[in-house]
């Protein structure tokens, strides 16, 4: 999946079940995730490898995540940190932002929301990630939400962008409507098959003029291919 493919997460979470689930879920989207169950494990991981983003729990067996956050920032290390909090009080939220967190999510979090927040954080940071992708004459920048076709720069709406990310993650692979639907819409929305066709139609317009095209495989789904 687009940019996020190249993302490397450090998950700091002591609840093993949750940690395993989050790791599995993020890997499903193609992310690389390391997991630390304690703050000292987290420090070891950070010393050993660079990360694009840290997902930080607050209550950990060997200390408070907020102290870790404060220490990281004081040491001048600015890896983006998103705090996962189980408390939903205003004071907690403001508090972690003041301490230097880039954002927070409240458990249980929606992975689509988490991804959107990661994207927003990286965009704000002017991420030094290798973000631009090329395919069949398309230059896709997911952080800026722009698509270059030839010399022309076209803006993508969020759903168009995510749809392109899905298809671009595995060109030539057929994605079913369900697979696309799950990633494009929230579970609370009732979605008609027609809705997906609307977005496919729009995206087709946006990639016009390049070698890329989106094929409809009747009764199965869609795939991105190049002429």
């Amino acid at each position: 999946m687009g940019i996020i493919c190249t993302m490397r997460f450090l998950l700091v979470e002591d609840n093993l079940d949750l940690a395993r689930s989050v790791v599995d879920r993020l890997r499903l989207d193609g992310h690389a995730v390391d997991c630390a169950g304690t703050l000292s494990d987290a420090r070891d991981c950070l010393a050993a490898a660079p990360y694009d983003l840290i997902l930080l729990d607050i209550s950990l067996p060997d200390g408070d995540g907020r102290d870790f956050l404060r220490a990281e920032r004081r040491l001048g290390r600015d890896t983006p940190i998103i705090v996962m909090t189980a408390r939903a009080e205003v004071s907690d939220r403001v508090n972690v932002l003041d301490l230097g967190a880039d954002d927070y999510v409240t458990k249980p979090f929606d992975f689509a929301e988490l991804e959107a927040r990661c994207r927003a954080v990286l965009r704000r940071r002017g991420a030094a990630l290798q973000t631009v992708q090329h395919f069949a004459g398309l230059t896709f920048n997911p952080l800026n939400a722009t698509l270059g076709v030839g010399n022309e720069l076209r803006e993508l709406r969020n759903r168009e962008l995510r749809l392109l990310e899905i298809l671009l993650a595995a060109p030539e692979r057929i994605f079913s409507k369900d697979q696309i639907c799950d990633r494009l819409f929230s579970y609370a929305e009732s979605v008609t098959d027609n809705a997906i066709e609307v977005y496919i139609g729009r995206l087709r317009k946006k990639i016009e003029g390049s070698e890329a095209r989106i094929e409809t495989i009747r009764g199965i789904g869609y795939r991105l291919t190049s002429r």
Binding site: N15, D17, L18, S21, V22, D24, R25, L28, S59, M84, A86, R87, A88, E89, V90, S91, R93, D103, T106, K107, P108, F109, D110, F111, A112, E113, A116, R117, R119, A120, R157, N158, R159, D178, Q179, D182, S186, Y187, A188, E189, S190
Partner: protein, 458 residues
């Protein structure tokens, strides 16, 4: 039901009044007795002098005892009162002159000083002075008794006057004592009232120990109160910790369920299991949202009793909240347009509550907006109030009354499958009320809803 014990003030006042009454009565009797005794002594002195003056005029002789009654003696008596005077002079057991039935003294002393006594005579009480003399008659010593009596009407009148005066003195001293006792009671009880005021003025969040200066007698009460406050503080902080722990212990497994369900959904084949998993995810979302809203609502109720009185810059608050919520809006291709946040607009209030209200409004707008629409949020000064206005292109109010939508756990009939707890607008309304502000919902022209929150400016 046990009766409340008598108030301290009443108790003190009654006791002091009781003492004052007893003292006043004692004073009355003392004054009266002393005055009567003084009057009687004066009267006796005059009566005795008159008697002695008569006795001076007794003359012996060969034929018998002679007397030349000195009328000035009677005029002395007349000078102190208009009472009637009786006399009797008796020599050797026979009355020489005067009233023969005037009572004789019970005993006559050997002294030359008169003897005084009171006896009934002719339907009245008379004061009598008697003096004994020996007169030589034909060289024989004859004992002569001079008895002078005077009715006591004048003295009684004096006594009555004195009694009235004494009663006035007693009453006056009683009234004075009553006033003083009221003042004393007030001053004795003042430290208690001051302490009560100092404790009463506190808000529910003020759990500092009481260090109000108090007299030594109240110190046990204050230290008991402080002990209680410390226990209460402990209990509250345990409750807060408990709520935080509880939230943690509920939300963490919910997060696991949600992540697992999303993974399973990705891998699920049949439409049935997909539907089931979607329902699971929706339920997780609903329960976590409800938990959050319940906490928010509890915070609003708890803090409403005693609002923090701080300056809140609505422009900064809105900018921050919009930035925080933007990624979620983006997921549905919603655009949030913000207007009027270039200038500070400062209201007085409780920052967490105001933030809670605005966040709930934003949340609602995002939840109910049709995808790819615009949400307009603006803040401006309207007279003495700041108006936050939030308009969406959602499903509108469908003719439902605002009072229904802001009711607790009430959700609009047209809320459909949008996840919610029915507390969001309740929170907004309560925050508005707590700040003496106002909240209104109206249908937006061209479809959708406009929510307006009015808060008083600084």
């Amino acid at each position: 039901m046990s009766q409340a014990p008598l108030s301290l003030r009443l108790r003190l006042v009654l006791q002091l009044l009781g003492i004052a009454a007893v003292l006043a009565i004692l004073l009355y009797f003392t004054v009266r007795t002393i005055a009567e005794q003084a009057a009687e002594a004066t009267h006796d002195g005059v009566l005795g002098a008159a008697t002695l003056a008569i006795a001076e005029r007794l003359q012996g002789g060969d034929s018998g005892v002679g007397i030349d009654l000195p009328y000035e003696a009677f005029s002395i008596l007349g000078s102190i009162s208009a009472d009637r005077v009786f006399y009797r002079i008796e020599a050797a057991g026979k009355t020489l002159t005067g009233y023969a039935d005037l009572p004789l003294p019970p005993r006559t002393g050997a002294s030359v000083a008169p003897v005084f006594y009171t006896a009934p005579y002719r339907d009245t009480q008379v004061r009598i002075a008697a003096v004994k003399r020996t007169v030589l008659v034909a060289r024989v010593a004859v004992p002569v008794l001079v008895v002078v009596a005077q009715t006591q009407l004048g003295q009684d009148a004096i006594a009555q006057r004195v009694a009235r005066r004494a009663a006035l003195v007693g009453l006056g001293s009683f009234i004075l004592a009553a006033v003083l006792s009221l003042l004393t009671t007030g001053s004795v009880l003042r430290p208690i009232n001051r302490l009560a005021e100092a404790v009463g003025r506190r808000g529910p969040q003020d759990l500092r120990a009481v260090d109000h200066p108090t007299p030594a007698e109240l110190r046990p009460l204050v230290s008991a109160l402080n002990g209680f406050i410390a226990r209460l503080r402990g209990a509250l902080s345990r409750t807060e910790t408990f709520i935080a722990e509880a939230a943690h212990h509920i939300r963490t497994p919910l997060a696991t369920v949600r992540a697992r369900a999303e993974i399973a959904l990705r891998q699920a084949g049949s439409e049935d299991s997909r539907e089931t998993l979607r329902a699971v995810i929706r339920a997780v979302e609903e329960s976590s949202r409800s938990a959050g809203q319940l906490l928010d609502h509890a915070t609003v109720v708890y803090r409403s009793d005693r609002l923090a009185d701080e300056h809140v810059d609505l422009s900064a608050l809105i900018a921050r909240l919009v930035m925080a919520i933007e990624p979620i809006a983006e997921l549905r291709d919603l655009t949030i347009m913000v207007a009027g946040v270039e200038n500070k607009i400062v209201v007085r209030g409780d920052p967490p509550l105001i933030e809670s209200a605005v966040r709930n409004l934003l949340d609602n707008a995002i939840k109910y907006s049709a995808q790819e629409t615009q949400i307009d949020i603006g803040v401006e000064k309207k007279g003495k109030t700041a108006r936050i206005e939030l308009c969406d292109r959602g499903r509108g109010l469908a003719g439902q009354r605002q009072s229904r939508l802001t009711g607790r756990f009430q959700r609009g009939e047209n809320s459909g499958d949008v996840v919610g707890s029915g507390l969001g607008l309740t929170i907004v309304e309560e925050v508005a009320a707590a700040h003496a502000g106002r909240f209104e919902l109206t249908e937006r022209e061209g479809g959708g809803t406009c929510a307006r929150l009015f808060l008083p400016l600084v």
